[in-house]
Symmetry: C2
DNA sequence: CCGCCGGTTTAGATCGATCTAAGGTCCATA
DNA sequence: TATGGACCTTAGATCGATCTAAACCGGCGG
């Protein structure tokens, strides 16, 4: 509508409240309130009269005021470092599915992996008395960044990135399983003799778990480990591309690589000129199985944990944390390998 | 709405309010309130005493209660059909940048392109008395789906998808410009003789504007139009891949194609076996310039509108709608072409 | 000694809803 | 004619903050 400095006044004067509906019918606020909440305590005649009058006056139920009174809130916050990451976006679908179904209102806040924004957003959610929070902590988060939220009592679930010393429920993928699956595929199926774990921020907790299990399985199978190619690295296609190009200039690559993510695999595949006749022989595996990986040239093999189901699990854990009855699994789904062309399976 | 949950006990007993801080110091609520809002009306001594006591008692300011009293709210909702679309995700960054800076709290809600969810979410935001909304309408939206939000007076900006008959501010990319740019590049630069506009949902308003301008420019330049390849189509890589494969089986492709999005271009490139020796000669152009397009094999040429800046513009338009002072441009940035290998530029 | 002044502080109403405990009808039963 | 109960409705307190208008206080000029 129109806007002015007077907008406040106008709105205040014009805004229709419960009491207006009540007065206009000669009823009390309480009765109108009961109607708005579908209580069985009010007669059918009154109910329809109230609904009609509310509609006529343009009354809009004020959920915020109700929340204040009931000490209850339907807002659940998803606090994520990177909304653009499709894996993360799919996880949010699962959370929304589980929580939305029973009346919660799920919204996503983007920290852009910045600590200051993360702090501000969590603070806001506490201040708004949100019902709960699911968060993938920013990379540089430490335990004391969650002391505040712990103290506030706001039900919170940590997702994907584990932080030592934080006493909050954690939901993540089976990193060790991913590492073992990768090692097995590269060595047992493709007979690789020298492998590496490529990319991933050194601070990212998934990297640690995966790489450790991967390396162990590689050693057990008697294959070689390329430490140079396994140095940590920002997990973007671009960074991976540049690093791989540099390393290739210095010498031949390992013959099998497990990449920290599909995005990293894209960069590596480009640097290796995979899919062209002059490509070096190297089996490439990604992690996440983004939709686009099947379309890539060559199609990218990838290890996937069903992200939507992971989100559902997360939602259920949060429900439990809020003290509500929960049905369905609370264990993350196991990783699976989707073998395509980049490792030589097709 | 929700059913009763019984979390009251613990929280009610433990919760610290403003009055607790006040009592504990022998002050009034009003004074504590002034301190919490950094008012200059309180003495320095009182201020620090209050802050210390608040900290000691673990007091947490209740933003929701304050919002009720002041009839003001800091929550701005971004209502989007597809959080997973990287273009959309980047737009959200721009909105957040402009609004976050002046104290608004931006959160994203995902409609998954479903009308019922969109209705429910918008309803929720109105009910929560949000400060404003930026929304990309669901594909099947009609004017009357926005009648409610219009009547409520909630400041709203429509993004990217235009809907006839809705009297709300709209921010979108220059679709006609994109179409002309594509035509010019394919025909003037690459000498294409027969072109098409590939993919895009028939209901998507951007498709209409782009294709119309594209087709017009193509006709003006004297090139041919391939109507079969220009049929509408769901805008995913997968759907594009299947459709292109079908059409290729029936006959040769046009020699120049403007794709509805980069995702569509990925599918088409795969079907054409672009980047391999046996590829049909066809210049492919995407739209959006996703980060991954430069990594693709071959790298995908794309027409881009800076999504972050588009988001900023959107934020500014919303501010104006809310009656706040605004600085900076309120016109979307012009599209640019990023020429790479898929059209033959490299 | 009084009135006034600027700097602080406060009591009480208010935002828009819910909740509790009590109050009215109406009718069947004692 | 009471009495009790089922059914519906309501007054007033309450949630946790802000706002308005008034009060307090030490000092200063008249």
């Amino acid at each position: 509508m129109q806007d002015d400095l007077e907008q406040g006044d106008r709105a205040r004067a014009r805004r229709v409240r419960m009491i207006d509906v009540a007065n206009s019918l000669g009823l009390s606020r309480a009765t109108v309130s009961l109607v708005m909440r579908n209580s069985p305590l009010v007669s059918a005649a009154t109910r329809s009269a109230v609904l009609a009058e509310a509609e006529r006056l343009g009354y809009i139920y004020n959920q915020a005021a109700a929340n204040l009174r009931t000490q209850r809130n339907d807002l659940v916050g998803l606090v994520m470092p990177d909304v653009m990451n499709p894996f993360v976006a799919e996880v949010s679908l699962g959370v929304q599915e589980v929580l939305g179904e029973i009346g919660f209102f799920v919204m996503i806040a983007n920290t852009v992996d910045r600590l200051d924004l993360q702090r501000q957003i969590l603070q806001s959610l506490v201040g708004h008395r949100a019902a709960g929070v699911v968060t993938i902590p920013a990379l540089t988060s430490a335990a004391d960044h969650f002391a505040g939220i712990r103290r506030s009592g706001l039900p919170t679930v940590l997702l994907l990135r584990h932080i030592d010393g934080v006493d909050l429920p954690f939901v993540g993928t089976d990193e060790a399983g991913i590492g073992r699956l990768g090692a097995e595929h590269l060595i047992a199926v493709h007979g690789c003799r020298r492998v590496a774990y490529f990319g991933g921020d050194p601070l990212a907790s998934p990297r640690v778990g995966r790489m450790e299990a991967f390396r162990e399985a590689v050693a057990e199978a008697g294959a070689g480990w390329d430490a140079t190619w396994s140095e940590p690295l920002e997990a973007t296609a671009d960074a991976a591309h540049r690093r791989a190009a540099d390393l290739l200039a210095a010498g031949p690559p390992p013959d099998g690589v497990l990449c920290h993510s599909d995005n990293v695999a894209y960069g590596l595949a480009k640097a290796l000129r995979l899919g062209t006749p002059d490509a070096a022989p190297c089996a490439v595996l990604g992690i996440d199985d983004l939709h686009q990986s099947a379309m890539w040239n060559p199609s990218i093999s990838s290890i996937a944990t069903d992200p939507v189901e992971l989100g559902r699990v997360c939602g259920r854990v949060l429900l439990a944390e809020m003290g509500m009855p929960v049905e369905g699994s609370r264990t993350p789904p196991p990783p699976e390998i989707h073998a395509r062309a980049s490792c030589g399976c097709r």
